[in-house]
Homo-oligomer: 204 residues x 2
């Protein structure tokens, strides 16, 4: 098991009066037969009015002499009390575009300076459960730039993130290995790896 640098103390129900970041929502709707139904869901309270999404994920592929590698990080996530393998990510600030957010978060979390190249459709994490969503922004990092020679993250005092890379060619098998070692796999990274395997299998 990976060393848990953080340690669970307790877990229990959250009083919604006390909640600052997340909330429960009740939706009432008419189904296609005109029958009125209700649905429970959860939301972040932090999405800026200026933004269509909560946050971004950053897809950065580093061109190494041995082949392309995906930039990843390991981060303790309290909701599951595990170290999670995920792409750099963060919440959109008010007035910020998703591309600006991606470049900023990449710099803060990994130290790399990059340029946003391409933005995915809006992705809904789990639309039967919540409205949480993000854009995956492809950020190109020019490894020949002086500022990318020895990148230094600029983490906030409640952020503890370890950066690493995995070869794209073996991403799926490496995620399976990391799961066996006790890491949790973020669905965005896992589904990306599944897509690579599908493309290989069908020679797309």
């Amino acid at each position: 098991m990976p060393e848990l640098k953080s340690k669970l103390v307790s877990r229990g129900p959250l009083d919604p009066q006390e909640a600052e970041w997340k909330t429960l929502v009740k939706t009432t709707y008419l189904d296609p037969n005109g029958i009125q139904r209700t649905w429970e869901s959860a939301e972040r309270l932090t999405r800026p009015a200026s933004s269509a999404v909560d946050g971004v994920g950053v897809l950065t592929i580093l061109h190494k002499s041995t082949g392309p590698e995906l930039l990843l990080q390991k981060q303790y996530r309290p909701p599951i009390n595990q170290m999670v393998v995920e792409v750099p990510a963060g919440m959109v600030d008010a007035g910020e575009t998703v591309e600006e957010c991606a470049v900023r978060e990449l710099k803060e979390e990994t130290g790399y300076v990059g340029v946003a190249e391409k933005t995915s459709p809006i992705m809904y994490n789990d639309p039967g459960f919540s409205n949480t969503n993000f854009n995956l922004v492809h950020v190109n990092v020019d490894m020949s730039l002086p500022q990318n020679q020895n990148p230094q993250p600029e983490l906030e005092d409640n952020e503890f993130i370890d950066c690493f890379t995995l070869p794209l060619s073996s991403l799926y098998e490496d995620l399976k290995r990391l799961e066996r070692e006790g890491y949790a796999i973020d669905a965005g990274v896992g589904s990306l790896a599944e897509g690579i395997e599908v493309a290989k299998r069908f020679k797309l």
Copy 2:
């Protein structure tokens, strides 16, 4: 915009006393510096004690004369009041394996009879927000079987699902088109499409 077969009536805060399916959770933990912090998250109340995951996604690729196509569905999702493009999916029943769940949900939601072939790592949808998770189960559908000639879904009376397929080779562009047409894209499908594009670009 796609025709919304369902219609939003109202949306508001959900009283946790009334909540049957979802809940808010407060986690208290020590960070790597020994500082005590708290974290808000959301959970499903429905995960069986027998299961490590809430549910499954089903990856089924149909072998058509024109090439491989991914089996997808369009479903109204109240948390975002949109029609969502997603893979067949569902919640694990008590005592059921994820593979059994995948074969059952595929039959119920699409009518296809299949065999589970491969199971992904456990995927966490949004581990900074919730503990919700799933396995992506690859289910093989033999199109030569009589029962797969004219598949008939067996939907519950609150389920309204339209099945369709998209060619794997153009999945990303087709998702972009569906987004322009007003559909929301589930992150699992979107990230799978991103993976296919990455594999093509780097000739993996």
